[in-house]
């Protein structure tokens, strides 16, 4: 290997690993972030305070209520106050959801064949309200089918959903791979970008290019070490994902490492490209923020890309996080289909290539 390149790799690794803050950034922060986000980031709505309003002796309503509480999503509200108006329960903040039986009770209404159950929801948070609604309708369906062994009231379409790959619908299994990707891009891109800009700011960059080095030697010399460093914490955070959060590992580890490598190369290349536009570390930090937010938004971490308008979806396709999150979920949860994995690794590789070529065009060994 080229002597200059080897010198660069040795120097960058020494500098990064000698710096205590960088060691923390590489090996402690990702674990903390992954744990924190894995626990906290959840689409599940729990502890919904539920009141069911029905006349005494309404057996079906009682069953629905009991099932709801038993599901673990709902909490019974013990209220001494008697509300004449169920709306008041929501408005006063006593309950998040109120189930109201039809006049005379649900049991009797079922007998008449026009069972209508009213659900009042506090929809201040739309996402929560949607979740509550789907929980309740699922419970009602199941009560009717399993407890009463009745044909459901009209419409008699049975929704027979089978949940694949994540049977418990556990959010962690879905969220942790995405969080892993996010944590990796933050450390890798920011670290690379800063490493280059710091040299410009300190004036060592001028010394560097006062030696007869080629642009390729400088660019590869400043990127290869950070690909190594970016991969160095991958086993650690993968371990946390698998052993702490129980994310399954259904695909091949080798394919997963390959995907991670493609992603780290892209992140490092992007960091390098951004650094060619920055003169000092303030600019570098700002630029990193400018890129990180949209990357996370379009990465499919919080909002499914499939729900976006087609034109916006193309923005997501340009987001390395989108490809990597897809790859991680696909490989870990589903086992990794050849076509899917191939396409997205290729997409990442292409982005890395474009960034490197663009960096070359912008890079000069003269001032």
């Amino acid at each position: 290997m080229n002597r200059t390149l080897l010198g660069f790799i040795r120097k960058e690794l020494t500098q990064t690993l000698r710096d205590k803050r960088m060691r923390v950034l590489l090996f402690v922060v990702p674990v903390i972030q992954l744990t924190l986000f894995g626990v906290a980031l959840s689409n599940e709505v729990k502890n919904i305070r539920l009141v069911s309003v029905f006349p005494p002796g309404d057996a079906v309503m009682q069953k629905i209520h009991d099932r709801s509480i038993a599901s673990g999503w709902f909490l019974p509200v013990s209220t001494q106050k008697v509300f004449s108006d169920p709306f008041e329960l929501i408005r006063s903040g006593t309950a998040d959801a109120v189930l109201v039986a039809p006049p005379g009770g649900l049991t009797r209404a079922l007998g008449r064949g026009d069972a209508k159950l009213q659900l009042l929801l506090n929809a201040m948070n739309v996402i929560e309200a949607q979740a509550m609604e789907s929980y309740v309708s699922a419970i009602v369906q199941r009560t009717i089918l399993e407890d009463l062994r009745l044909d459901p009231p009209e419409p008699s379409i049975q929704v027979n959903s089978r949940v694949l790959f994540n049977p418990g619908l556990e959010t962690a299994i879905f969220m942790v791979p995405a969080t892993l990707a996010m944590v990796m891009i933050i450390t890798t891109m920011v670290m690379t970008n800063n490493a280059i800009v710091r040299e410009k700011e300190m004036g060592t960059f001028e010394m560097l290019i006062s030696a007869p080095v080629s642009p390729a030697e400088v660019i590869y010399g400043k990127t290869i070490p950070y690909v190594i460093l970016g991969m160095s914490n991958f086993p650690l955070i993968l371990g946390v994902a698998v052993f702490v959060f129980g994310v399954p590992m259904r695909g091949s580890l080798l394919v997963l490492v390959l995907a991670a490598f493609a992603f780290v190369c892209t992140a490092v290349a992007l960091g390098t490209l951004i650094s060619t536009f920055c003169k000092n570390q303030q600019q570098a930090t700002l630029a990193a923020f400018l890129f990180l937010f949209p990357m996370i938004m379009f990465g499919g971490l919080f909002f499914p890309i499939e729900n976006m308008p087609v034109s916006i979806r193309w923005v997501a396709y340009l987001d390395p996080l989108y490809h990597y999150i897809g790859l991680l979920r696909n490989i870990m949860l589903k086992g990794g289909g050849h076509a899917y994995v191939g396409t997205h690794i290729l997409a990442l590789g292409l982005m890395a290539l474009v960034s490197v070529v663009w960096s070359f065009r912008r890079f000069r060994t003269t001032l």
Binding site: R3, G7, Q15, S210, P212, T366
Partner: protein, 307 residues
């Protein structure tokens, strides 16, 4: 006859509309200590960067240690050493790590590197451990190690851009001993400085102003050509008010009248007028004839343009 170490003809460097260096020409001989003086922004650093291959000239002919830009900037970079005014070692690496990184940048063979390192550390009388982090070195030592780093590949010409900015006077002295030793061993040293005592030690100096060389000669000849007439020092017997100083300054007697510490240095315009005015001035000042200092030359040519 060996070619000159540096040949510059009609060098011009423009940044957009701004002309940083404006058609300058000069030559520097081998083994010479060549000084570059000028106010900040006069174009010294820009010129040095061109000569080091760091900046492409807009126009003009440049030849450094037998190479030019037609052979590419890297050809020049191989031949010259450069120590920039910013401190350019990595603080978080040790002396050995810094030098070895520079050796790998320049692709020096490892035997050559180890040999050269030993030589240079002896040259700068480095007596600490090679494993000392650069951060822990005193300012003067850091600067000497920087010099060693710039000399690692044994360049024929070395460019030092304000190498002694911000170090103690003792360290400056020591550093200039090294510069003289380098020149004595046949290296060409090209140095910029703001210190007049340092400029006095150069073989020849070029004064730059607004991108042009306005004077170029040995320190002695510069003084002679800038001050062809007699120069006197005026030492006030009692402290003078601004008004009194201004009144004397505006007498038509002087081509140059500038404060020098608590005293004044003055060059007279004409012998007869001077002889007539002298007795009156001697009531207020002790006047004695002096040799002009380089500072006077600098003030008169670079900064001042009075009368």
């Amino acid at each position: 006859m060996a070619e000159q170490a540096v040949i510059v003809r009609d060098l011009t460097v423009r940044f957009g509309d701004f002309t940083a260096v404006d058609r300058i020409s000069f030559e520097v001989g081998r083994g010479e200590i060549f000084g570059f003086l000028g106010a900040n922004g006069a174009g010294k650093t820009t010129t040095i960067r061109v000569l080091c291959g760091l900046l492409l000239p807009s126009e003009g002919f440049v030849r450094v240690a037998g190479t030019g830009f037609e052979q590419g900037d890297r050809a020049i970079k191989t031949k010259v050493g450069y120590m920039s005014q910013k401190f350019t070692l990595y603080n978080d690496l040790t002396v050995e790590e810094n030098l070895s990184f520079i050796a790998s940048l320049r692709k020096l063979g490892s035997n050559f590197y180890v040999e050269r390192r030993k030589e240079l550390l002896e040259f700068i009388s480095f007596d600490r451990s090679l494993g000392t982090p650069v951060r822990d070195l005193p300012g003067g030592t850091k600067q000497q190690v920087s010099l060693a780093a710039a000399l690692l590949h044994d360049p024929e010409v070395v460019f030092l851009d304000e190498p002694t900015a911000g170090v103690t006077p003792a360290s400056r002295n020591l550093f200039w001993k090294l510069i003289r030793k380098l020149a004595a061993s046949g290296k060409t040293v090209f140095v910029t400085t703001h210190y007049m005592d340092e400029a006095e030690q150069c073989g020849r100096i070029a004064l730059m102003r607004e991108g042009r060389i306005i004077a170029l000669d040995t320190p002695e000849d510069l003084k002679r050509s800038v001050f062809p007439g007699a120069v006197f020092e005026f030492d006030p017997k009692t402290p003078l008010s601004f008004a009194e100083v201004a009144a004397i300054e505006h007498l038509d007697l002087f081509t140059f009248f500038e404060p020098y510490g608590l005293r004044f240095h003055a060059a007279i315009r004409d012998g007869e007028d001077w002889n007539r005015a002298r007795p009156e001035l001697e009531c207020k000042f002790n006047i004695r004839r002096i040799k002009p200092s380089l500072e006077d030359v600098f003030i008169k040519t670079v900064e001042g343009k009075k009368r």
